[in-house]
């Protein structure tokens, strides 16, 4: 396990990003709290608001990175199956192999956290220097140890969970002849497990409940904070079972071309892989959508609340700053997810080398190979983006409702959906998904079909 493969680098980057994110986030929240107090803008509400938002962001960041890290380890384990088989043949036990992966997860976690802390502190210093006046911020908040512990735990758990495939590797796979006869029996469609069902339902109840209770008190946001991560986990675990059905529903609307049929069939016959990749896209899109919708809704509602009052200007300024902070933080979360997405899709495409080679031997043109790949990732991307937009809008509105429902006259906050932002999000995500699939293909297509068939 000494060679650092692409999976390890990704994990390191993700851990470092999340830690840096947490470091900057905590310092920024403290700074903003101080600022709004100086502005005289109702301290209690804004502090609570910031605390809730801050915690929310962190939790989401950790959940997102958990998905990405688990995927990363699962993907690395799959690609190293032959190495592991060889080691097993030579006498290493499955438990030993798994322990090696977990130890690597721990190492990556520690290194990543160290790098992230340094990076975060550097950013905080820059912010402290450039922001003038009373906006002096510390270099680091001691509370950051909590998210760091969370990230480390996540890294180790992800390594443990993602490496479960190591237990299935048979030593005989190292003997080439046996490997040649794989017919790739597709698994039966995955069941929607009880755990996934419970988590999803609880999550939906938590989020919906928060919106309902929000009519009475802003403390309802804490309920949403509980429901949100549950829903996130539920979605990720439900994806292999539910996503193919969602795709099949969308297929009825989609025009089918010959390449499209092959693309749709491939997605349908690999529900585990499709679901896992889609889960990543759904999470990134819903997280970004959620914050975009929540902050737009909040901003509009808060501005309306303070319209014509003395605090109007202070309120507007704070909400605008808040929106700015939200934008930066959402970008960080999106970046982490984007890395994971590109990696999962990219490795899936790389594992297709043999099949691509076969198709080209049988006479499929390069253009057609690309068309099928684009068709597949476009279908997956579109399905996941629509699901993410719907989910994110609901959760975003529920979050805003839970915070401000009790304070507005009508008791219900109107959802504000900045459609052009969301359209940009959809387009960028699709481009990422398709690009991540085409990039390794470019490599595959450059060599002769023979090379791909052999190796």
């Amino acid at each position: 396990m000494r060679r650092r493969g692409p999976g390890s680098v990704t994990s390191l980057v993700v851990v470092a990003l999340v830690t840096a994110y947490a470091t900057v986030l905590l310092t920024t929240i403290v700074m903003l709290g101080r600022l709004s107090r100086e502005n005289g803008f109702s301290g209690a509400t804004s502090r609570e608001l910031l605390a809730i938002l801050g915690t929310g962001f962190l939790v989401v960041a950790v959940v997102v990175s958990a998905t990405v890290l688990t995927n990363a380890y699962a993907v690395v384990t799959a690609s190293r199956a032959r190495d592991v088989a060889l080691r097993r043949l030579l006498g290493s036990s499955a438990a030993q192999e798994r322990r090696l992966v977990v130890r690597d997860g721990l190492r990556t976690g520690v290194l990543g956290i160290g790098a992230g802390l340094l990076g975060g502190m550097a950013v905080n210093t820059v912010i402290g220097l450039t922001a003038g006046g009373g906006l002096r911020s510390g270099v680091i908040e001691p509370a950051v140890i909590v998210p760091c512990a969370g990230v480390l735990l996540t890294a180790v758990l992800a390594a443990w969970r993602g490496s479960s495939a190591v237990l299935d590797v048979q030593p005989a796979q190292a003997l080439g002849a046996a490997a040649a006869v794989e017919t790739g029996a597709p698994a039966e469609p995955p069941r929607w497990t009880a755990v996934a069902q419970v988590l999803t339902v609880l999550g939906l109840l938590g989020v919906g409940g928060a919106a309902a209770v929000g009519v009475l008190t802003p403390q309802a946001a804490y309920l949403g904070l509980l429901g949100g991560p549950l829903l996130a986990f539920g979605v990720v675990l439900s994806a292999p079972a539910l996503f193919p059905r969602w795709l099949r529903l969308l297929n009825r609307v989609w025009r089918t071309t010959p390449s499209g049929v092959l693309a749709a069939r491939r997605l349908d016959h690999n529900p585990e892989r499709t679901g896992r990749t889609a889960a990543g896209v759904v999470v990134i899109v819903s997280v970004v959508t959620m914050f975009v919708v929540a902050s737009a809704t909040l901003e509009t509602a808060v501005n309306r609340m303070y319209e014509g009052t003395a605090d109007a200007e202070g309120a507007a300024e704070t909400t605008m700053m808040l929106a700015g902070v939200v934008a930066v933080m959402v970008s960080a979360a999106a970046l982490i997810s984007a890395i994971g997405l590109c990696q999962t899709i990219g490795l899936g495409a790389r594992m297709r080398r043999r099949e691509t080679g076969l198709m080209r031997v049988l006479g499929q043109s390069r253009r057609d190979v690309r068309a099928v790949t684009v068709g597949e990732s476009a279908r997956l991307g579109l399905g996941a983006v629509t699901a993410g937009l719907l989910l994110g809008t609901f959760v975003g509105w529920a979050g805003a409702q839970s915070l401000l429902g009790s304070m507005v006259r009508e008791r219900v906050v109107m959802p504000v959906v900045p459609w052009w932002l969301l359209l940009a999000l959809a387009v960028v995500t699709m481009l990422l998904a398709v690009g991540a699939a085409l990039a390794p293909l470019h490599e595959n297509l450059r060599s002769t079909p023979l090379a791909a068939l052999r190796g």
Binding site: A180, V181, R265, E355, G363
Partner: protein, 247 residues
Amino acid sequence: MTTTPVLQARGLRRSYQSGPQTVHAVDGIDLALDPGEFIAVMGPSGSGKSTLMHLLAGLDRPTAGTVLLDGDDLTAMDDEELTTVRRRRMGFVFQSFNLVPDLTVRENLRLPLSFERPVVRPDGAWEATLADRLGLEGLLERLPHELSGGQQQRVAIARALVRTPSVVFADEPTGNLDVATGRAVLSLLGELVRGTGCTVVMVTHDATAAAHADRALFLRDGRVVDALDDADDEAIARTMLDLVRAS
């Protein structure tokens, strides 16, 4: 009456660098195959038989020499043209069946047709004939993993023949099959190609498989060193043994 050879090789050479050495995988081969011929290409490991097949199929470029298919020079074609030739005029059967696991048997069968732009409609009658002769009726809607090894290989043969190609290339087609199944599969292949007049180039190290061929060519160190016509498995095995002993 002389027939134009369907597949011709002239002065074929293929060399490549392996570390500091130059390996001559194919070292000057001339070949002419008539329509309907079934030849076996044999030889010990490293004799160049697989490389020769790849060159003849346009899957690899020779260092020197030409390959003509129905008079067309494959060595002068670019990748797109070669892809088209493979799609329309060649069939392929591999050792590990190489069916697409996500497609049904019928869809696997039609794969070379489905790659055509604009899309070509399948010849229902020919498809039905192939399915019938290869015992695939009733299996057409199944997925590859539900089929036995022999059945999968028969699907591969049907796929190879679905566009009535000029040449079928078979690379160790019985390598993953038990003896009885292998024999059955090769008999079917032999019957079908004699019926359609297409040529078969089969690479194999198995003397029993080679006995199904009209002619057996023996390679060593990249050159053709011997040939047997209508030989039985014993004669072929003996020739192979002499070949190995002599090196």
